[in-house]
């Protein structure tokens, strides 16, 4: 090791005459650069938020109508569950001895879609094993309350009208409500 000290690059050639020269900034060039800067900033943030806001509006509207007609009461044979409307409207149409009602397909435990098992005559949820009778009453697994029923009525043309905006809960005694079933 020699004693020679290394000189930092930055200090090479520096002297009082050869000092750092100021760039020539005029008021005009400063303002034009400022304008460019602000324009770029507004462009970038504007574009960013436009894309974000656009993202909130999907290209497709998935929602089927909340109120729909499902045909005439005679179309449903008694003591049967119609799963025709499950896929589009998330509702089962059940007809028992004296009434027709529309059940929600949302399991009251955590919201999976149960399957109708005709042989066992029950709705069975594949997620945690909750089971519901044809009436919608829960009887097995963890579901704490029965399936909800939708508002059901007869339209002027004699067809059954299901209104999903209004639902009736058994545990609140709402199944007594004449709007929650259709006497046949």
């Amino acid at each position: 090791m020699s004693d020679k000290k290394t000189i930092p690059n930055a200090s090479i050639g520096s002297s009082a005459e050869n000092s750092y020269k100021k760039p020539e900034t005029t008021r005009r060039s400063f303002l034009s650069w400022l304008t460019v800067g602000w324009a770029a900033y507004i462009g970038v943030t504007g574009g960013f938020f436009t894309v974000i806001i656009r993202f909130l509006f999907p290209n497709v509207l998935f929602e089927p109508p909340q109120t729909f007609k499902i045909g005439y009461p005679e179309d449903f044979s008694s003591n049967s569950v119609d799963i025709k409307y499950k896929k589009q409207f998330n509702a089962w149409v059940v007809r028992d001895e004296e009434s027709i009602f529309a059940l929600s397909t949302v399991c009251t435990h955590l919201g999976c879609t149960p399957n109708w098992l005709p042989v066992e005559s029950k709705f069975k949820c594949p997620c945690h094993g909750s089971g519901f009778r044809m009436t919608g009453i829960h009887f097995e697994g963890p579901a704490p309350r029965p399936l909800e029923r939708f508002k059901i009525s007869l339209a002027n043309d004699g067809q059954i009208l299901v209104d999903k905006t209004k639902s009736y809960k058994w545990e609140k005694g709402e199944w007594e409500n004449p709007e929650s079933f259709l006497k046949v």
Partner: protein, 372 residues
């Protein structure tokens, strides 16, 4: 011969049996008291932590999976890409547990002879973080990355068709690491099983250093000096967490019914699961009357049961069995320990009540989404 093996595994996989077996086996494998330790030595279970024990156990696990792989029903579950981590989990968890217990038993013997534990180094003989530790971590990181890359190339990600709210797959299983939580959801209301119990898990694990004031076994493996702590942790970790994952993966089939691993997944298997709330047991079955309209009156038995469990048990324990513990731990620490311990124990208790008595909820107030 093989069929007999499969049938017996199917029979043992019934949760009442398999869960009970594990519950009995855990204190025997990790004996928390002298009494259990005596049985452990008598049954020669401590030999599991020897090298021969490790080799035999690994062979048993491999045999089980080999039989499963050749079985037409079990192989469907085993060869599913989602379930590959579970198979790895069997080996890795066993190996890590074995390694720790193996070293702990060696140290226990050394300490008994008055020697220092085998990890003991001369205070001047230091190991540096850089490069010693960081190099090991770096190499492990590279090897694991290679493993993950090779895995992801060889096995396609188990993607399914686009989600359709009208058709839920049957059975509908969470990712493998969440299957323990999904199993808890069968027994508890979503807000307990999905929010409260996981918070208790996380906070409870964080609270261990504050509740466990035993300074022995610090910096070296030891079983004898902290056997109660190890037993409680192993029960929660292996039985209440890992076994529930295994249960959800291997034993749950269509309609979330229980199936043996070698059993055919018959979607039309009928299992009677008519669950009844405690209030119905009390008012309808015992007293023969209808349920009262007043919610609090209807559920008062459940409130009493839960209240006794959560608030009277700790007091009783503090007055009797755990008297010395209260003295050395102090009230706050003892209370925290009891809270976490009782909440943890409530899971197996609830599971047994569901399996044996078809009990749905102790307190059932669906009107206000409050079910315990």
């Amino acid at each position: 011969m093989l069929d007999a093996f499969k049938n017996s595994v199917d029979y043992l996989s019934n949760p009442t049996i398999s869960f009970s077996l594990l519950t009995v086996l855990t204190p025997l494998l990790f004996p928390p008291t002298d009494w259990f330790d005596k049985i452990n030595r008598k049954l020669r279970l401590h030999l599991l932590w020897t090298k021969t024990g490790c080799a035999i156990s690994m062979a048993v696990i491999t045999f089980f999976f080999a039989v499963g792989f050749l079985d037409e029903n079990f192989s469907v579950i085993l060869t599913k890409a989602d379930n590959f981590p579970i198979i790895l989990m069997f080996y890795s968890i066993f190996f890590c547990t074995w390694l720790a217990m193996h070293k702990a038993y060696i140290n226990d013997e050394r300490l008994e002879k008055g020697l220092k534990p085998s990890e003991y180094n001369d205070p001047d003989d230091k190991v540096l973080v850089w490069p010693d530790l960081v190099y090991i971590e770096f190499i492990a990181l590279i090897l694991f990355t290679v493993f993950l890359v090779v895995w992801s190339i060889l096995v396609a990600a188990p993607l399914e068709e686009p989600a359709n709210p009208a058709s839920t797959p049957n059975p509908s299983k969470a990712p493998w690491y969440f299957l323990g939580l999904q199993e808890m959801l069968v027994y508890y209301d979503p807000w307990i099983a999905g929010i409260l119990l996981p918070i208790f898990c996380v906070v409870g694990l964080m609270a261990i250093p504050y509740m466990d004031i035993n300074k022995k076994g610090d910096g070296y493996y030891s079983f004898k000096e902290r056997r109660v702590g190890i037993f409680i942790f192993m029960y929660g970790w292996i039985v209440l967490w890992l076994f529930l994952i295994v249960l959800g993966t291997f034993f749950r089939g269509p309609n979330w019914n229980f199936y043996g691993p070698f059993e055919y997944w018959d979607a039309h298997k009928v299992v009677a699961l008519n669950n009844i709330n405690l209030s119905e047991y009390f008012w309808v079955k015992l007293l023969g009357t209808g349920l009262p309209d007043n919610i609090l009156l209807r559920e008062f038995v459940g409130f009493i049961v839960v209240g006794i469990y959560l608030f009277i048990t700790p007091v009783l324990l503090a007055k009797t069995v755990l008297k010395d513990m209260v003295k050395s731990y102090g009230l706050v620490r003892f209370g925290a320990l009891m809270t976490f311990g009782l909440v943890m124990l409530s899971l197996p208790i609830k599971m047994y009540f569901r399996w044996i008595f078809d009990l749905k909820y102790f307190v059932a107030i669906p009107e206000y989404f409050f079910n315990i």
